[in-house]
Amino acid sequence: MRPEPSFDEFMAARWAALYRTAYLLTGGHHQAEDLLQDVLARTCLRWGSIRDKGAAEAYVRRGLAHQASRQWRRRGRETPTEVLPEEGHDGGLEVRADHLALWEQIRRLPPRMRATLVLRYLEDRSEQETADLLGVSTGSVKSQTHHALARLRAAMPEMELS
């Protein structure tokens, strides 16, 4: 029988993928690193009690969404990001110009709206799953999605997001 991976082995294998998710959830490198390190530290403490190590990544991903949601609550009322968390970061992203423009607008969304889009559209989670992960109602997920799309449409009429 294959031995269970240690926490370090797990992280060495999954760090990059988890970092990418944290980046999309937070919209910035510093915030992503801080969020992921926090969730990993908590996971490290509980590593011995995670009985199915094969489910550890799902556990961390749930933790990312949950912890991000908690941080937003602690910060109080969300406000749209008029000033991007990291100026000029886009120079490092080699993506199509129209996609980069859309990502810039997604980054400007309030954190919960952005996370809702990531969970719903990228991870293809249901409204109920998204609500559970973010600790909100399904009604809130619907509302956040609706308002996020409305903002994107308003910001990018030339993209024909309809």
């Binding site: 999309l24 996609h99 997001l161």
Partner: protein, 341 residues
């Protein structure tokens, strides 16, 4: 390209393109140590308060468990010996064994098996068949038992209700079934009649003329508060049996040891019936209710050391949460056997 597809494609492309910094395990390890230190500090402060209260009552203890060697401290039945001694944390049952979960989510086996009755002076008390085990000793022929932080009340097969610990009430010749107990007294159920027994005698509970609680199935006693639940309603009363309040739903809940808070959370069936998800803390004094987000349907709740713990279920996965202003994941069991009792 549809709106959803365009967003998905963009997110995928950004996900692939983002520069990933190298993993630094030492930073994560340092943060883990920091979290552990904070939790231990908080735990030590809470523990100090509990020890101070309990220590004041030690001299009042009636004696050791039957069969215990009283030892040099003759009045302290909850000696630091026997199964589970020196282990801390909320008790859970996992794969049939009684374990304790500390603030970091670490499990420690107590060596005990059976139904968790509660924790008395940080010792887990269990009922294994008709054997009540705790404090390094045991009592045979027990049919029901309820524990609170200062003692355990149990009923023998002959009906007698006995108390080991601080406070509580003893009684012989009790005809009803013991269904709940606390430091202030105990409750019995006979047919559909709940009777409270405190230092002033026996009081039949007034559960309302509308028969809103026709078949009580659980009674919890904490401080001067009694909570009676049936399949769909919760009634809050005082020790004299006078009804103070009540509400529909919320029957999966736990009353704090001081009786100040009744915490409840809807089960999957209740959510399906339209109950709002979340954890609700009902202040039995003011009648105010506070809601805390809880991302899954509840299975059970318990109080330990002044803290609230909620067990949720999502498919085969059961999760234990430590809840205060928010609920933090403490333990995840993908085997689906985790329980609080």
């Amino acid at each position: 390209m549809s709106e959803k597809t365009r967003i998905r494609t963009t997110l995928h492309e950004v996900e692939e393109a983002v520069a990933v910094p190298a993993y630094d395990g030492s930073v994560v390890a340092a943060r883990a140590r920091s979290i552990r230190r904070r939790r231990r500090t908080a735990g030590a402060l809470a523990g100090t308060a509990v020890v101070a209260v309990v220590a004041a009552g030690v001299g009042l203890l009636p004696g050791a468990w039957p069969g215990d060697d009283p030892g040099p401290v003759a009045t302290d039945g909850w000696a630091a010996a026997g199964p589970g001694a020196g282990v801390h944390g909320v008790p859970v049952v996992l794969d049939g064994s009684v374990q304790r979960v500390d603030d970091d989510g670490t499990l420690t086996d107590t060596g005990l098996r059976g139904q968790v009755v509660g924790v008395v002076r940080d010792r887990v008390v269990v009922l294994d068949g008709d054997r009540l085990i705790g404090a390094g000793g045991h009592v045979e022929g027990v049919v029901a038992a309820y524990a609170d932080p200062t003692g355990v009340t149990y009923q023998r097969a002959d009906g007698a209700v006995l108390r080991e610990g601080v406070g509580g009430v003893d009684a012989d010749g009790v005809t009803g079934r013991l269904v709940g107990a606390g430091a202030g007294g105990f409750a019995t159920l006979e047919g559909v009649v709940v009777t409270l027994h405190d230092a002033d005698g026996a009081h039949r509970l007034d559960l309302g003329s509308d028969a809103a609680t026709p078949r009580p199935d659980r009674v919890q006693v904490g401080g001067g508060t009694v909570v009676v639940t049936d399949s769909s309603t919760v009634s809050v009363l005082d020790l004299a049996g006078t009804r103070r309040s009540g509400f529909l739903g919320g029957t999966t809940g736990a009353l704090s040891a001081d009786g100040a808070t009744y915490a409840y959370a809807p089960t999957a069936a209740e959510v399906d019936r339209g109950m709002r998800p979340g954890l609700f803390s009902y202040d039995t004094g003011s009648g105010q209710t506070r809601r805390t987000a809880l991302p899954a349907a509840a299975l059970d709740l318990t109080w330990y050391d002044g803290g609230l713990y909620v067990l949720t279920e999502d498919g085969d996965t059961r999760t234990l949460w430590a809840c205060d202003q928010t609920c933090d994941q403490l333990l995840v069991d993908d085997g689906g056997t985790l329980g609080l009792r």
